[in-house]
């Protein structure tokens, strides 16, 4: 808990309702989407404007208190966890769409604008915001910037990095900098690119300029079903190898389909198959029939059981709803979910997926897979009950082996969920000590006092000043 003098100062800035210190109310913020870790913040602050954030940061700076920026708390790597009683600076009240500029295909938003609300605001102009993480109905643009969020349609349109024109950032000492900016071409280092995906460790984005895309003239969404995972992944690799660029190319395995079809998100997917692919093409109508035919030919060559095109928009929406709500559907299977996030070269998908299933079988774990196959971005999901220590131990060990298998195949440890607290242990699999040391130096440039989301992203053995005092009240499943 923060001390009374600081609480009083913060209330003078934000008002009584802008500072939460009641332990019961703080419980809401004790974890993010990675519920395996829980940690009560010292307080939660609710600024409304960039000026509010500046004032708050100055007060925290003077008091030497660490802070964690937080959007909707849907992150899956523990990035929004407030270690060591750090203060959560929530963007919840910074939720205004400040401007939609259709002629320049831009929008200016506060960070807590919900991803799908931005697209809704742009829709009347025939525009939309392309990155579409599965949590897009609740996650915020600010959180997306912090994590460099992806989503199914990033295969064609790129991740958050590719759709941000500029950000206003408040640094840990309360100073404001502007990075990038629509229409600006800066003759300097791409600090905007560096900031995106920095998980709140370099500062806090308080205003964001986003690029909007033109809505596609036409869309074709296909469902291809296969007897085996292997056949489905071979089809994915072949589609990529032939140079096709679907808007999205997603895979759902049998276990995931069973969970979806037994839930409120049922989409009529066949439950007696090994895996299904959702393949979507968009663009001018003149281009799509040939794309669909080529994809169909490839799937049939890989012995697809059935390939069909969604007949209408409701059927298409149903397919996507099922895909995007699959994680929710799995909540019915067991009390806990461990959603991994790794990326492998697309040609290695058949081999790596076979390894992933073998590992799960060897540890006697129930594994579901629904992921961005076209990007090679896997999300092996283990359903388990953490109250069983033996099961928990097997989950941990299997998870580690899966991560090693992905890295050995030339992949990386996270494609869109970020490092947070969960993936720090794997950073050394993909970065040398000197590379991590340089990252640490870069972090220090933005945040010399080490108070911006401490204990995240970099292993503490590399970045000791960000470790803080011994962690307390972190409930780790181990």
């Amino acid at each position: 808990m923060i001390d009374a003098a600081l609480a009083s100062e913060l209330r003078s800035i934000l008002g009584d309702d802008g500072v939460i210190t009641d332990p019961g109310a703080l419980l809401v913020y004790e974890s993010d989407g990675l519920t395996a870790y829980r940690c009560l913040p010292g307080a939660v602050l609710l600024p409304r404007t960039t000026d509010d954030v500046c004032d708050v940061m100055r007060a925290l700076h003077k008091a030497g208190v660490a802070f964690v920026p937080r959007g909707a708390g849907t992150g899956l790597s523990g990035g929004a966890l407030a270690l060591n009683e750090a203060v959560v600076v929530s963007t919840a009240r910074m939720n205004q769409i400040l401007e939609v500029d259709p002629a320049n295909r831009l929008a200016r938003v506060q960070p807590a604008v919900i991803n799908v609300h931005l697209t809704a605001a742009a829709a009347p102009y025939g525009l939309y915001y392309a990155p579409d993480p599965s949590s897009q109905t609740v996650c915020t643009i600010g959180g997306n910037v912090g994590e460099n969020a992806g989503g199914p349609h990033c295969l064609k349109y790129g991740v958050t990095l590719n759709h941000i024109a500029g950000v206003t950032v408040v640094l840990s000492d309360g100073e404001v900098i502007r990075l990038g900016g629509a229409g600006r071409e800066e003759d300097g280092l791409d600090l905007l690119g560096l900031f995106i995906g920095s998980e709140g460790t370099l500062g806090m984005a308080t205003e964001i300029e986003v690029k909007l895309e033109r809505s596609a003239e036409a869309v074709r969404t296909m469902l291809a079903t296969f007897d085996t995972i292997d056949a489905a992944t071979r089809a994915v690799s072949a589609i990529i190898a032939e140079g096709m660029l679907p808007a999205a190319l997603e895979m759902v395995d049998r276990n995931a389909i069973l969970a979806i079809e037994a839930s409120a998100y049922a989409a009529g997917l066949p439950t007696d198959i090994g895996a299904a692919l959702v393949i979507e093409f968009d663009g001018p109508a003149a281009a799509l029939d040939e794309d669909v035919q080529r994809a169909r030919t490839i799937c049939e060559r890989e012995h697809a059981i059935e390939v069909r095109v969604a007949r209408d928009e409701p059927e298409r929406q149903k397919l996507w709803y099922a895909r995007k709500k699959a994680f929710g559907a799995m909540g019915r299977l067991a009390p806990d979910l461990l959603i991994q996030d790794a990326v492998v070269p697309r040609s290695r998908l058949p081999q790596v997926l076979a390894q992933v299933y073998e590992i799960a079988a060897r540890y006697d774990l129930h594994l579901c897979n629904m992921f961005h196959a076209g990007d090679g971005n896997l999300h092996p999901t283990i359903v388990f009950d953490r109250r069983d220590p033996d099961q928990l131990d097997r989950v941990e060990r299997a998870s580690r082996e899966m991560m090693h298998a992905c890295v050995t195949a030339g992949g990386t440890i996270t494609g869109e969920h970020g490092v947070g607290i969960d993936k720090q242990q794997y950073m050394e699999l993909v970065f040398s000590d000197p590379a991590m040391s340089l990252m640490c130096d870069v972090r220090r440039v933005f945040d010399p006092s080490g108070r911006a989301n401490p204990g995240k992203l970099l292993p503490t053995r590399v970045c000791r000043e960000w470790a803080g005092p011994a962690t307390r009240r972190v409930e780790n499943p181990t």
């Binding site: 791409d190 600090l191 140079g243 490092v419 950073m427 590379a435």
Partner: protein
């Protein structure tokens, strides 16, 4: 000189300079002059480790360093103020790891764009970048200068293509960031600030890239348009069809690029279509509904890139697309002051970036550029003047952060700071 220093010098001298390439490198020193300043020595490492060793030595000795690929962008920034060591990527060349099934490739930084694209062509793949370039322009320099051409309308800039790279930092650490996968959020995205850093963070030794399939059909249309009507027409075309490039050229430049003998009286929009043949037919039909378009040779894009890369005096002006008319007016005024003879103006109509180039006027003054920068700032735009250390006004903290990031890579400050 300490024993350690002697050893380092021997290493560099024997291995990198007096070797078989040494003489050629020495002869080439004059060609590598930067604003007339000739390097003290040219070094051509053959791998990343050698490059790092050279930089470690230079850092320890405090010798200033400049890096060079094809030499196309050496005019960017101010003149160096001291003798310097020039490290060339010439021997860091070749397609090192090509995974056509993954549409990824890794190439040495000194690989020329021509060689790289030719190597990928065998599998009907390419890097969808068309930066201003001349024969000998390298992928390393393209990345280091974040150079992109008209294809940025669809495919973006090097920022959107590079998935990993190796860099020898200013103090001689050889570091690898990113990888061979197309999606990656592990750690800070250190790759992005290295792209466009103009050698101020280190020598890029190797680059991994996302590739695309070469389209079945690729054609270019030319549309004649009065300058005043061009922004509106370009916007209408962009809304009607997802062209991969829409470029507005001034009359003189269009004449040169299209290769016509008679000077064009008006400005020209070049529109590039890629896709299935049937798709392009539809695109052509829709564009013709907006304005009469004639097909031209697709070689226009390479000619435009060559002319731009060979520019003597070169300025870029950027503002939002809806400010294109004002940006063109500012460019026009600037042209009258800094250029002599015919000026060339090209506009990336997708994002409103105007480039202006030609022969420099006899009387040189930075004042017109400063005035243009002030004028365009009123519409929140920017000016980049390639031939001087012209920096945009920015708040002090951002500049200090940038300096701090550079110091993290180059603690001794030996790398070409005058570039940015």
């Amino acid at each position: 000189m300490t024993q350690e220093q002697q050893q380092r010098q021997q290493l560099v001298t024997a291995e990198y300079i007096r070797g078989e390439t040494g003489a050629r490198a020495e002869q080439g020193k004059g060609e590598c002059a930067i604003h007339g300043v000739v390097p003290a020595v040219v070094v051509e490492p053959s791998n990343g480790e050698q490059a790092a060793a050279v930089l470690a030595l230079c850092s320890a000795e405090g010798w200033k360093v400049e890096t060079i690929g094809g030499g196309t962008w050496l005019g960017h920034g101010a003149a160096p103020d001291a003798a310097f060591v020039l490290i060339s990527t010439r021997r860091l060349a070749g397609l090192e790891d090509y995974q056509p099934e993954d549409l990824t490739a890794t190439a040495g930084a000194g690989t020329t764009l021509d060689v790289l694209q030719a190597g990928l062509m065998e599998r009907r793949q390419w890097v969808a970048l068309d930066p201003p370039s001349l024969p000998g322009s390298t992928i390393g320099a393209t990345v280091a200068s974040a150079s992109a051409g008209p294809l940025r309308a669809r495919f973006g800039t090097p920022r959107d293509h590079v998935i990993g790279l190796d860099i020898a930092t200013g103090d001689g650490r050889l570091l690898h960031f990113g990888g061979h996968v197309v999606k990656n959020v592990a750690g800070y995205d250190i790759v992005r600030p290295i792209i466009g850093s103009f050698g101020t963070l280190g020598l890029i030794t190797r680059v991994s890239l996302r590739l695309r399939a070469i389209p079945d059909a690729d054609e270019t249309l030319a549309i004649t348009v009065p300058r005043g009507d061009a922004p509106e027409l370009a916007a209408a075309i962009a809304a009607a069809w997802p062209a991969v490039a829409i470029e507005l050229l001034s009359p003189w430049l269009a004449t040169e690029v299209i290769g016509e003998s008679a000077a064009r009286p008006e400005w020209t929009l070049l529109v590039r279509l890629q896709g299935h043949p049937a798709e392009n037919v539809e695109g052509r039909t829709r564009i013709n509904r907006l304005a009469p378009a004639v097909a031209v040779d697709t070689g226009v894009w390479a000619r435009l890139g060559s002319l731009e890369a060979a520019a003597e005096q070169y300025v870029r002006l950027a503002a939002k697309i809806t400010r294109m008319a004002e940006t063109l007016n500012i460019a026009n005024t600037l042209s009258d002051h800094i250029l002599t003879g015919p000026s060339r103006v090209a506009v990336h109509a997708c994002d409103g970036i105007v480039r202006l180039w030609g022969a420099p006027s006899a009387v040189h003054s930075a004042a017109p550029v400063t005035e243009a920068a002030q004028n365009i700032a009123t519409i929140d735009g920017t000016v980049i003047y390639r031939n001087a250390a012209q920096r945009n006004a920015e708040n002090g903290r951002r500049a200090r952060i940038e300096a701090g990031v550079r110091a993290a890579f180059d603690p001794a400050g030996i790398l070409a700071g005058y570039r940015l």
